[in-house]
């Protein structure tokens, strides 16, 4: 448990969290690994966790008939994915697939939500972190949407 707490504390997402909060969060986390090509979650599955990637890369994809799997983002070491557990309807909105052998920390969202409900200070601290990740990904999505690299037609 002590090592898991240390590993969790080393993740950028939890960096600088006070020890008491970190201990609470660790109670909801466990180590996971996925083989290359393995699906980590699929669109429309119940979303009850998020992942902090430690090694390897994960592709976030949407599949369209006739076009195949389209990757819109890849997630690597030090990055996180999965925020659908925070708000209803608590469903994954994409497929996540390991591109190679991937080690990650899975954090149980139900467990964390419960702790946040009981301790709003913890909740406030974590929601700020989730919000800043959301804003970052929103900025990146805008840039992607603008399709700035190609020749304009």
């Amino acid at each position: 448990m002590e090592t898991l707490e240390r590993i969790l504390g080393e993740q950028p997402f939890f960096a600088g969290l006070n020890p008491e909060f970190l201990r609470l969060a660790t109670g909801c986390a466990n180590n996971v690994r996925f083989a290359a090509g393995e699906f980590i979650c699929k669109e429309d599955d119940p979303a009850d966790r998020f992942y902090l990637v430690r090694h390897g890369h994960v592709a976030l994809q949407l599949f369209a008939p006739g076009r195949g799997a389209m990757t819109f983002q890849t997630v690597g070491p030090g990055e996180m994915f999965g925020m659908s557990w925070i708000a209803p309807p608590y469903k994954w909105t994409y497929d996540a697939r390991a591109l190679e052998l991937t080690r990650a920390l899975a954090v149980d969202g139900l467990c964390l939500r419960d702790k946040c409900d009981h301790d709003h200070d913890l909740g406030y601290e974590l929601m700020q972190r989730f919000l800043s990740r959301t804003i970052e990904s929103l900025h990146a999505t805008r840039l992607q949407l603008l399709d700035v690299y190609g020749a304009k037609v």
Partner: protein
């Protein structure tokens, strides 16, 4: 530096007159991007990484194209995207064809003053072309620099230019190379997402790092902001600007960017110098 070199390249004092070069090799980079090697009658050419030439497709017109080759080779290399009549004509040139060359023009990357520092090259799309001479120059004297990272963003895997070279650089132990695309199908094993995402994944000493970025203006703005968020100084971030150019030396007026002539005072500018202009619309 190169301003004074120019006259010798064309063999004439008049900077409006191109010299007649010959295309010696042509490589297809992607569906609309071609790299041309050009031989000029004067033999080896000298230019600073980041400078550009005005290239003429005879009978069609002239366009400002950055130099994308190895400055140590003494050869001219240009990478052109077919977007208009002139660039399309340039892309269609074949080995042996004549091509008009004026230049080199402008101020390049301050690579010489970045010795001992960490270097970050951040490129978007065709923006890798003007950065490549600087990368060659840094690799030619690899031991003079700290960590070197090349971060490259492209629209899709098939629009990546200099692919084989990027793969070669990626295999080196003394280089950190990451490429990301906006969209990919399942067969792409690399990153997907914007190039700014890669900045958080690179290790560098913000106090002792110099960044060189080139790509669409909007991408460079976000790159500069991401680098500043990593506590880099605005004076250590350099961007290469693009504007309409006709002459190359500040006399046709087209490339004005606030008080600057992009052709003469740039195309490479310190972010510190142009940050207020980048925030203005239609400047």
């Amino acid at each position: 530096m190169a301003m004074s070199e120019t006259a010798s390249m064309g063999g004439v004092e008049d900077r409006t007159i191109p010299c007649v070069g010959r295309v010696s090799a042509r490589r297809i980079e992607s569906s609309d991007v071609v790299t041309l090697d050009v031989e000029t009658p004067e033999g080896p050419v000298r230019y600073a990484p980041g400078q550009f030439n005005m290239l003429t497709a005879f009978g069609v017109g002239e366009s400002a194209i950055s130099i994308s080759g190895d400055p140590a080779s003494g050869r001219l290399t240009h990478t052109v995207r077919a977007v208009g009549p002139v660039s399309r004509a340039l892309c269609n040139l074949r080995p042996g064809d004549a091509i008009g060359v004026r230049g080199p023009f402008g101020v390049g990357w301050p690579i010489g003053t970045a010795a001992t520092r960490d270097l970050l090259f951040v490129a978007g799309g065709l923006g890798l072309a003007p950065l490549r001479p600087a990368i060659y120059a840094a690799l030619a004297e690899r031991s003079r620099y700290g960590k070197i990272a090349i971060l490259y963003g492209a629209r899709s895997p098939d629009s990546i230019i200099f692919r084989r070279e990027l793969e070669g650089w990626r295999g080196r132990f003394d280089l950190h190379v990451e490429a990301t695309v906006d969209h990919a199908l399942d067969d792409w094993r690399g990153h997907v997402g914007v190039v700014t995402n890669l900045i958080s994944q690179v290790e560098f000493d913000a106090e002792q790092a110099t960044a060189f970025a080139c790509g669409p203006e909007i991408m460079m703005r976000f790159v500069a902001q991401a680098l500043v968020a990593r506590e880099m100084r605005e004076s250590d971030i350099h961007l290469s600007m693009e504007r309409n150019m006709k002459c190359g030396y500040g006399q046709c007026g087209h490339c004005q960017f606030g008080p600057f002539f992009v052709c003469r005072d740039g195309p490479v500018f310190a972010y510190e110098a142009i940050r207020p202009l980048l925030a203005l619309r239609e400047i």
